[in-house]
């Protein structure tokens, strides 16, 4: 069968088997290998991508079901050369080790910040509780998400203040949040 969907803002049309999973469509057909596969039972969350802005486990979605929808993967998270604050946070706070769960974690975390720009530690832990990381013990992932939340709040404050021509915001010289741990 033929399926057409938009992946990272690009429309793609491919001939596929009806049973093909979205995760395999992304990885094997489109070559977008940043999305991973880690279990047979939708427990691990390494395959999380967005469908119409909502995180889904792409091992549990048929590629055919994504037809006509907007799909976003980790490859579509950065804006060109500029990393998304979530990506910066994971680097700054050592939120990744082997990197295998990282794309899924970041997609969920980005979606969380989009609907809740100032999540508590508990809210972050609940948001990523459907995903498993074997390396980090989660604390640094929580810190990474908080880092991004603070960075975005400070960037927003700076924009506001610049617009109002007031004095500089609480941004240090490197443009990094001065304090980011909840």
């Amino acid at each position: 069968m033929q399926v057409t969907m938009t992946v990272n803002d690009v429309e793609v049309t491919r001939e596929i088997e009806a049973r093909l999973l979205l995760v395999h469509f992304l990885r094997d057909v489109l070559g977008l290998t940043g999305t991973h596969w880690g279990c047979d039972t939708s427990n691990c969350g390494t395959c999380v991508v967005w469908m119409d802005g909502e995180p889904v486990k792409s091992c549990t979605v048929l590629a055919a079901m994504a037809g006509g929808h907007q799909v976003r993967t980790v490859e579509g998270l950065a804006k060109g050369a500029e990393l998304d604050p979530i990506q910066q946070g994971f680097m700054q706070c050592h939120g990744l080790q082997c990197g295998f769960c990282t794309p899924g974690m970041m997609m969920t975390a980005r979606a969380l910040l989009d609907r809740n720009p100032d999540p508590s530690e508990t809210e972050i832990r609940e948001a990523i509780s459907g995903q498993i990381c074997r390396c980090t013990g989660y604390a640094t992932i929580v810190r990474s998400v908080r880092w991004a939340a603070v960075a975005e709040a400070q960037a927003a404050a700076q924009v506001t203040e610049t617009t109002e021509s007031t004095e500089a915001g609480e941004i240090d010289n490197a443009g990094q949040p001065a304090e980011a741990v909840a």
Partner: protein, 796 residues
């Protein structure tokens, strides 16, 4: 000796870290953050075929017949291979890392559920799995041996009838220590406490399962193998031996690896099947196991049934420790440990205490379960050893009515006793235990916690405080004592400085997430003064790195880290001679200051390492006898293991209504000697602590009486999520290793070793009002509930 609380809240970029140790962001992160990591399953080669493995549905059966005709006719199928076909090429069996043999594909019998029986090669993943369904296997089901306690009974079914003359399920016996001396101290002790302990079978379950892409070129005879391996060089040599391929025609590539934890040390049948399939079809072949295959067939961990005994004086002086262990090694002895250490490093079970005598007797048996035996960040069985000693020390404290912290402090090996030879012959290189313990107690607010516990108990609330103090032994060899199938446990490192002063370091170890590309750049930077950003670290490719035994047992920093420091010093020594020529002074008149040689007494005259690199490759004169170039290679053979230590304190709350355990706080103070990158160390510790929560509270690979694996998916084998673990509180002390070139010790497994007893001790402490002295892991609500009602039972 410094003692500092660790808080890692500062942020900076790497330009502020020109050389040396300290917090530095990881060089490898950008590719992972963009989805550009390259894992084995990401490898796509032109014309690549896909391999899937048919596995046994039963634990023990004779294979009567296999019919592959329907599978061969299935669309897209290129080949179907059985054990009989492999046997014709003498490839049906392969050696394990413990000098046993293991079936690549079963020929005579299947010996565990999930054992490899046949494989299909097809044009895509789906077609290969479709065809598996069409293979007809007739089994003559045999009684299985599931309970290790019954494996040696006279009427137990014989599992290993493939071994000549084998008449029972005995695998090996092993002992250490002095039985008579230990008997003597037990005879005169005021107090003897005995406790049966089970460390159940668990599984490392890295997020990336195991797999390989084999690409055999029949024209030039070269095999390229991308595989999920923690030991690419050792694997290459073993493939040369098993497959009969010349070693220089084998290239093993461990690309980015999605977690290892020991699971990726052994050679699995699937890797060999992929190689065979590529040779047979003439095409590249990919094999990636699914999660169930990973859980039911690859390297498990633990599975020790232990009796621990401890003898002491009435005032709490520990005199002796004795243990008897029954080890379940599954159907084939696939333990990945140095060959002279069939029980790994379990011999360190005397822990951190200065005692008079110790003895261990172990019997290992075969059962109808998956092979393996050392995995899951265990430091070659030190997890089991530390659990044993730290649990029975707590039992002794209970018997004596002493505080468990006080009992430990009273019995520690003292700093002036190092190097300390234990009663089982291990030479601890350095340690200073009391400050580490005191720091953990201070961070925890130990006395305040005890007061809180008294108040809560008065209200009927169940709060527990658990302590574990561990001494690890990491960084195998030396090679004269430690080898894997004859390959000595040493590691190489090569450093090349390019003409413009940039450098490339090639390691024999490789990363499964530990951050080698950063840490090793820092080690070299510290020695040679080139910024880490200018140092490329290459690893995981046998064609491009020097030989070495690989990354497991926390050995990268103790062994390869030493190699990296020493190779950099070797290059620096040459640079000094070249500098002496450039500055026209004798080498004795040069002073080194990270990256620059200065003339003593005339600091204005100097050359940088970059100047020297250019001269080394340039057209100008070099001092007499000095060759051009600026590079070196060494192989480092460690003189001893390194012995990190740590003090862990866990605080739990147990719900009296549901028996649910909540880890409220966890304080971990680690001493791994010199600290290279504190951020990475903290990450290693956090991960291990989470493993500990998993093992102590939820993880177990269980079997039913027929040998069906009950932990065959992540719905059944529970791994901690973000909701089951607290925000970790870490601290550190620094006691450098005296024999390591930079004083560093390994840290990768410390927390996995140290945390399970801390958590179990905390739960047992919480259950004290119920008179509970022990309950085995995993401490699930139902098992804790049973313990509260005086019905604690072993999990197996």
């Amino acid at each position: 000796m410094t003692t500092v609380h660790e808080r890692v809240d500062t942020f900076h970029d790497n330009d502020q870290k020109p050389v040396g140790y300290g917090r530095m962001l990881r060089k490898e992160d950008p590719r992972f953050l963009r989805g550009r990591g390259r894992y084995v399953d990401d490898v796509q080669l032109p014309g690549m075929l896909h391999l899937a493995i048919l596995r046994s549905p039963v634990a023990h059966a004779r294979i009567v017949s296999i019919d592959t005709s329907a599978a061969e006719a299935s669309p897209g199928v290129r080949a179907v291979v059985t054990g009989a076909a492999l046997a014709q090429q003498n490839l049906a069996w392969m050696p394990t890392l413990s000098n046993d043999v293991q079936a690549v594909l079963a020929t005579d019998k299947v010996r565990f559920q999930g054992q490899e029986v046949a494989f299909v090669v097809a044009e895509d993943r789906y077609a290969a799995r479709d065809a598996l369904e069409l293979i007809e296997v007739e089994y003559d089901v045999l009684d299985p041996v599931i309970d290790a306690r019954r494996a040696l009974e006279p009427d137990a079914p014989l599992i290993r009838d493939d071994l000549d003359g084998k008449t029972n399920n005995h695998c090996f016996d092993w002992e250490t220590g002095d039985e008579a001396a230990t008997e003597a101290v037990f005879a005169r002790a005021d107090v003897v406490v005995s406790q049966d302990l089970v460390y159940p079978r668990v599984h490392p379950a890295p997020m990336e399962t195991c797999g390989a892409v084999a690409d055999y070129d029949a024209v030039d005879g070269k095999l390229r193998l991308w595989s999920t391996t923690q030991a690419p060089h050792a694997h290459r040599t073993l493939y040369a031996i098993v497959a009969g391929l010349p070693e220089h025609k084998i290239q093993v590539i461990a690309p980015d690896i999605g977690g290892g934890f020991g699971n990726k040390v052994p050679i699995y049948p699937g890797y060999v099947c992929a190689i065979v399939a590529s040779i047979v079809t003439g095409k590249p072949v990919k094999w990636m196991e699914d999660r169930s295959e990973n859980l039911i067939s690859t390297g498990f961990a633990r599975d020790y049934i232990m009796r621990g005994e401890i003898a002491a004086t009435r005032d709490g002086r520990i005199l002796g420790i004795r243990t008897n262990v029954l080890a379940d090694h599954g159907a084939f002895n696939g333990t990945a440990a140095p060959v002279k250490y069939p029980a790994g490093f379990f011999g360190v079970f005397t822990g951190s205490y200065d005692i008079e005598a110790a003895y261990c007797k172990m019997t290992a048996v075969y059962t109808n379960k998956a092979p393996g035996g050392v995995a899951y960040a265990c430091s070659f069985r030190i997890t089991e050893a530390v659990y044993l000693v730290e649990r029975i020390v707590d039992c002794l404290a209970d018997e004596l009515g002493m505080d468990p912290a006080e009992l430990r402090l009273k019995n520690f090996i003292q700093p002036e006793q190092f190097p300390y030879t234990t009663k089982t012959g291990w030479v601890y290189d350095s340690g200073n235990y009391e400050p580490t313990m005191r720091l953990a107690m201070e961070m925890a607010g130990y006395d305040e916690l005890r007061r809180e516990q008294v108040e809560k108990r008065a209200r009927g609330e169940l709060m527990g405080i658990g302590i574990a103090f561990f001494t690890e032994a990491v960084g195998a060899g030396p090679r004269k004592d430690m080898d894997i199938l004859g390959l000595g446990m040493a590691d190489g490192c090569e450093l090349r400085v390019h003409p413009t002063g940039k450098a490339v370091v090639r390691l024999s170890v490789q990363s499964q997430g530990q951050g080698h590309e950063t840490t090793f750049a820092q080690i070299v930077a510290e020695e040679i003064g080139i910024p880490p950003a200018d140092i490329e670290v290459l690893h995981g490719d046998t064609d491009n790195t020097p030989f070495g035994l690989g990354t497991y047992g926390s050995r990268s920093t103790p062994v390869s880290g030493a190699a990296a420091a020493l190779v950099a010093r070797k290059v620096r020594d040459k640079a000094r001679i070249i500098a002496s020529g450039m500055l026209e002074v004798s080498v004795a008149d040069l002073e080194w200051e990270k990256g620059t040689f200065r003339v003593a007494g005339d600091p204005g005259r100097s050359v940088t390492i970059q100047d020297i690199a250019l001269r080394a490759h340039g057209a100008g004169d070099l001092p007499e006898g000095i060759e051009g170039g600026l590079e070196a290679q060494i192989c480092y053979n460690p003189s001893n293991l390194t012995y990190p230590h740590g003090a862990y304190i866990c605080v739990v709350d147990v719900d009296p209504g549901t028996a649910q355990v909540k880890v409220r706080r966890f304080i971990a103070v680690d001493d791994c000697g010199t600290r290279i990158n504190p951020m990475i160390i903290e990450g290693q510790v956090h991960g291990g602590l989470t493993d500990g929560v998993g093992m102590a509270l939820m993880e177990m690979i269980a079997f039913d009486e027929d040998g069906n694996c009950l932990g065959a998916s992540l719905m059944d084998y529970l791994i901690p999520t973000s909701l089951e673990v607290p925000d970790w509180e870490t601290g550190f002390t620094v006691t450098p290793s005296p024999h390591h070139p930079i004083g560093a010790k390994g840290v990768g497994e410390s927390a996995t070793v140290g945390s399970p007893p801390a958590i179990v001790n905390a739960v047992i402490d919480a259950l004290k009002p119920f008179g509970v002295r022990h309950a085995d892991m995993p401490l699930t609500p139902s098992r804790v509930w049973d313990a509260m009602r005086g019905q604690a039972r072993p999990p197996i």
